[in-house]
């Protein structure tokens, strides 16, 4: 019975997308099928669950508005269609999550899908053997995703995907437009973060060395993915440390430091700047040449039911779902704007690329950064501690 309904549902979705059914009828169908599922899920559902072993799939994401949008636009329709519950869990941080995955048994077994950041983390998860091979034909919505993004990931995992790109972000520079003029900011670029007149009013992200080294490399005129003069980078960071008021440790801390004018300039996650601007704070966003760009993707971990995961990913890539999530987070979606029309709200987001080619977006080279990870992380700790 449930299987049949599932099939009907799939047919209806296909019809809806091909334009055979109006949105109104589609919504009506959703409601009816939801209600019938609800009836089925009552007394029969209990038995079914008991027989089949309660099925669920877990997705770790950022919580808050991200999770609300996902629930409304992707999880609930998915549960209605497939009858499998989505447990949305929030992780507490990228690094902590990797630790949890590494320490779990069976490897990755307790975890299914995770909303991860940065290409070098994709490489880490894949190198540690947590990856899977997704069947792209089962995720038709993947065709709307910017090909530059999928190709970047494929290059790491031997031509197959273990994740679908979901959104795009940058770590650019945020500055207080009341205190720093736009002209000055644009003229200085990355060197704004090293401007002596801002002593005691600068901030930086204390969580990783990559962001800090990246901008130090730009400041000293080097390619961040191929630092030739490492000494100059460390010297710049050492000098900068004396001018930093606070190395922030979280997105909310970044926002409150900027919003309260505790600091005037800092490296900043583009989505957070977008949220601040939406609130009407006098915060400008600067993306100098070579700005540190990254992507977020939905990584499927080893041990997950791939059929189920692929179905869920397809729901999550539905344009309506991904747009809503994108607005909630403040990061532009991974969808190619030349293929899918974007609302103004998304077009205004920092890091949005209208061309869909990501020309000039510089991502961290995973091989380069992962090779030096421990060594540089420890050096960075010493710089930060002022020793």
């Amino acid at each position: 019975m449930k299987k049949d309904l599932e099939k009907i549902f799939d047919d209806v979705v296909v019809n809806y997308k091909e334009g055979n059914i109006s949105r109104r009828d589609f919504v009506k169908f959703l409601t009816i099928s939801g209600a019938s599922m609800g009836l089925l899920g009552g007394p029969f559902g209990l038995v079914q669950n008991a027989l089949a072993g309660k099925k669920s799939i877990t997705l770790h994401s950022w919580g808050g508005s991200t999770s609300e949008a996902l629930r409304q636009f992707a999880f609930d329709p998915f549960t209605k269609a497939v009858g499998v519950k989505v447990i949305d869990a929030a992780f507490t941080g990228m690094a902590a999550f990797l630790t949890q995955v590494k320490a779990s048994y069976p490897p990755g077994g307790e975890f299914n899908i995770a909303h991860l950041s940065a290409v070098y983390d994709y490489a880490r998860y894949t190198d540690l053997g947590f990856g899977v091979k997704l069947d792209e034909s089962k995720i038709p919505n993947l065709k709307n995703v910017m090909s530059k993004m999928t190709n970047t990931l494929k290059a790491i995992s031997n031509g197959t995907l273990s994740a679908v790109p979901y959104d795009l972000g940058q770590t650019g520079i945020a500055y207080n437009t009341d205190k720093i003029s736009k002209e000055k900011a644009e003229e200085l670029g990355a060197s704004l973060l090293y401007d002596k007149s801002l002593k005691g009013k600068l901030g930086s992200w204390g969580g990783d060395h990559i962001t800090n080294m990246w901008y130090a490399a730009l400041h000293t005129g080097q390619d961040p993915n191929n630092i030739t003069d490492e000494k100059a980078v460390w010297a710049a960071l050492k000098e900068q440390r004396g001018m930093i008021k606070k190395y922030w440790a979280s997105g909310s801390e970044l926002m409150s430091l900027l919003g309260n004018s505790d600091i005037y300039a800092t490296v900043a996650w583009s989505g957070r700047v977008g949220l601040l601007q939406k609130e009407g704070h006098p915060i400008g966003y600067l993306a100098p040449k070579g700005t540190y760009s990254w992507m977020e993707y939905m990584y499927v971990l080893k041990g997950t039911d791939l059929d189920l995961a692929q179905k869920l990913l397809n729901f999550m890539l539905e344009p309506e779902a991904i747009k809503a999530v994108s607005i909630g987070m403040g990061y532009p979606p991974s969808l190619d704007p030349t293929k899918v029309a974007m609302p103004d709200e998304i077009k205004k987001l920092p890091a949005f690329d209208p061309t869909g080619t990501l020309e000039g977006y510089k991502f961290a080279d995973p091989v380069y950064w992962n090779a030096h990870q421990i060594d540089w992380a420890e050096k960075w700790d010493r710089i930060m501690a002022g020793k």
């Binding site: 690094a95 969580g207 440790a249 309260n260 992962n370 090779a371 992380a377 501690a385 020793k387």
Partner: protein, 289 residues
């Protein structure tokens, strides 16, 4: 109660079982890990070498973090003692009918998430926090004082976290003191202060020392106040462990630092047990009475 040597073991067996499986064995895993190597990807390679320990003592950086942790812990203990003893003594003395209420108030902070309590200091000490706001408003200062992100702020956070532990420990021990003892001392001509010094204070020492130990040890193991209220130079040893284990996924090195910290704390607790041990105090008490 003679010849029943099996009895304490029966009483101890649930705790010992739990501790053995959830503490002793896991800690052995940590010790084993501290000799391993870490691959660049973050995987661990079984090995037996002392490189992780050698790295810790390579230069002064890591030991200096350990030393500053001990200094902060010591300062916190002293402050907790001063700010904790007096309220505890007040509870012991008072006959107010509000006493249960006041006691509950001491417990209250426990009920509020530690993170929230730590964050709350930002509202007080920050550039636009309560103190700066008031001082600016009454023109005492012209620009905000920088009170956050230094060692003082970290100690504030620690103090708020740990003070209830100290107060309760001292109070429990004070509460066990027979009040007639001080009365007797006073009837023999002692002043209030002398009675306190000669009778109450010595008898409250088990609680004081237990409280001090607790505060010291907890300070050494905490990482949230330095993370939230401290500046980059105020990191403590637990932050370092957190960073190595979670941040860089360097479990072997993180394990090695953990082992060093555990050894250090064990020496301290062992010394405490040896010279101020609960058992020791019990003996002196029973001998005197």
């Amino acid at each position: 109660m003679k010849d029943k040597s099996w009895k304490p073991w029966v009483l101890l067996s649930p705790s010992l079982t739990a501790i053995f499986f959830l503490l002793v064995i896991p800690i052995c895993f940590v010790i084993v890990y501290s000799f391993w190597l870490r691959a660049p990807s973050g995987a661990d390679i079984p090995a037996f070498q002392f490189g992780n320990y050698a790295k810790f003592f390579d230069d002064f950086f890591y030991p200096s973090i350990l030393l500053s942790t001990l200094r902060v812990a010591f300062e916190t203990v002293i402050l907790c003692l001063v700010f904790g003893y007096i309220p505890a003594y007040f509870f012991y003395k008072t006959r107010s009918r509000f006493k249960p209420f006041l006691m509950l108030l001491v417990m209250l902070p426990f009920w509020i998430s530690f993170i929230i309590r730590t964050l709350s200091w930002i509202n007080i000490l920050g550039d636009s926090g309560l103190i700066n706001h008031l001082l600016l408003k009454f023109h005492v200062i012209s620009s905000p004082l920088a009170m956050l992100y230094n060692e003082g702020a970290v100690i504030m956070g620690l103090l708020q976290y740990l003070l209830p532990f100290m107060i309760l420990n001292i109070y429990v021990s004070l509460d066990g003191i027979d009040k007639s003892l001080t009365e007797a001392a006073k009837s023999l001509g002692c002043t209030e202060w002398q009675a306190f010094k000669e009778v109450t204070l010595p008898l409250s020492l088990p609680g004081v020392s237990a409280g001090c130990l607790l505060v010291f040890v907890l300070t050494c193991g905490t990482y949230l106040p330095p993370m939230i209220l401290g500046g980059p130079g105020n990191e403590m040893i637990a932050n370092l462990i957190f960073k190595r284990i979670i941040g860089t996924l360097d479990w072997p090195f993180g394990s090695a630092i953990s082992v060093l910290l555990m050894v250090l704390l064990m020496v301290i607790v062992y010394t405490y047990n040896r010279y101020m041990g609960i058992n020791q105090i019990f003996k002196t008490l029973s001998n005197e009475s």
